[in-house]
Symmetry: C2
Subunit: 316 residues, 2 copies
Amino acid sequence: MSDNVADLGEFGLIAAIAARMPQTRHVVVGPGDDAAVVNAPDRRVVASTDLLVEGNHFRRDWSSGYDVGRRAAASNLADVVAMGAKPTALLVGLGCPADLPTEWALRMADGFREEGEILGVSVAGGDVVRSSSVIVSVTALGDLDGRPPVLRAGARPGDVVAIAGRLGWAAAGLAVLSRGFRSPRVLVEAQRRPEVPYEAGLAAPGAGATAMCDVSDGLLADLGHIAEASGVAVDVDTSALAVPDEMRDPARALGADPMVWILTGGEDHALVATFPSDAVLPSGWRAIGTVGDGSGVTVDGAAYDRDAGHDHFRVP
Amino acid sequence: MSDNVADLGEFGLIAAIAARMPQTRHVVVGPGDDAAVVNAPDRRVVASTDLLVEGNHFRRDWSSGYDVGRRAAASNLADVVAMGAKPTALLVGLGCPADLPTEWALRMADGFREEGEILGVSVAGGDVVRSSSVIVSVTALGDLDGRPPVLRAGARPGDVVAIAGRLGWAAAGLAVLSRGFRSPRVLVEAQRRPEVPYEAGLAAPGAGATAMCDVSDGLLADLGHIAEASGVAVDVDTSALAVPDEMRDPARALGADPMVWILTGGEDHALVATFPSDAVLPSGWRAIGTVGDGSGVTVDGAAYDRDAGHDHFRVP
């Protein structure tokens, strides 16, 4: 039995991971050659890449290998969906210390596989290297199926701002874990593993979405990206952002304002989009604001006075 | 002036890097949205990903940011070319400590740009995160232009084995650097920055290459991959592998056998391929062996008695 990845060796680990990764119909050539070959029927391919680093994006005492695999896959699949594309494949790089338990790496592979299965997507290739802490790089590919990509730059004055998915849950979970608690479980789970609103995202282009973005830096920060790219102003109506019951008790216990989690928390991988005012929002979307002339993001018509988002080099 | 990446911030660093990255005609949507959109005229996309970790794949006291960018781009572009495809775009993830000099990151971007320019390829997207040491993840995309991919599994008994590019130069450079020397400069440079035989690689499919592989684990190890995938035996003829003059003096000084560097050294990103015996080898390729019935790799008809390749978890 191979207890850690050094016992198994680089090629043994790759083989063990690949054995857990059945390939989908999108994949022409899977793991084991110099590169993967993936179908791109649209003649354009959408491609997004992320790096996740132990101690910054996850902690092994808080998240299992399975959780990290789910999260890493989800964050990239959400990016592809946010472009208006349907994901087709994942590529994964794993850096790990020689004493990483083999089970951790294999469970991470399971997480990738199961998150991918939601969308019919497999890990078509990757790389395994040695590093002092665990590092996961992910690239997701996707297909536009003949449609133009949904950019951040397409919002127009008069549009409705809508979100799909959860906001602030991961931030609340992180706040709970950071104070040494392990509950409420639903918030801690949200921090470990986002629930990306894939179906809602896939329905957005057909419903006329003019702009779309994955909420990874926090709602206000990511709406700021849309406002800037589109040359418009965005106002968020907090009365449309109900504070979930699950957040009330921990917010009180931690002396926190749950609306800050909702407005500025990243890592839930919700989707935010703009739609023409007469559009029928697809299932899973709810209106939370409006697009106007001008620039910047306001909350209930006023400037927001708290730190509005996440900068990886300026962690509070 | 922003002396280190924390002064500039995540978004400032991304903007500064993107400003140095003009996009090519392959790129429909470049950096700045949730994902890149890249042309894939063949309706299939070739995709390869690698992770490079400071202290394992490079050392900042030995390699500049520029060198690391060149090397990281080259290693992935070589993988795409080894599939018989023409590279179309790169995606890059950079993990760096807050005190990384901004200049280092920008010079790395220059390295990516200049290596890409050899093939008309740009960095279409990426990610920047904080990490305790420098980490670079790279994904290269490519197009098959209507041809089948050149797999590792296509070698047939009777084929000729040929190589393009340099073998053992990076290993010799590493041996020199490891003993505290900085010369011969040509070997040290080879360790810092591979010279990938892109043109020869791009010509291989048209000349009938039956199998092809990027030499990253060492010639014998990578020929082992071809032999195993193809179900054939490979014999290497060392009389066709001349020891370059540049290696003779350092080999003597270090008490090393230069043929070991040539047969087992990785990281030069040479290409090894098999061709039908009656093929006319394109410019840049030279015959170094033959394919036969059986299994495994022999050298001059005999088993090779030294460690034949590189395993990232079992570094000598």
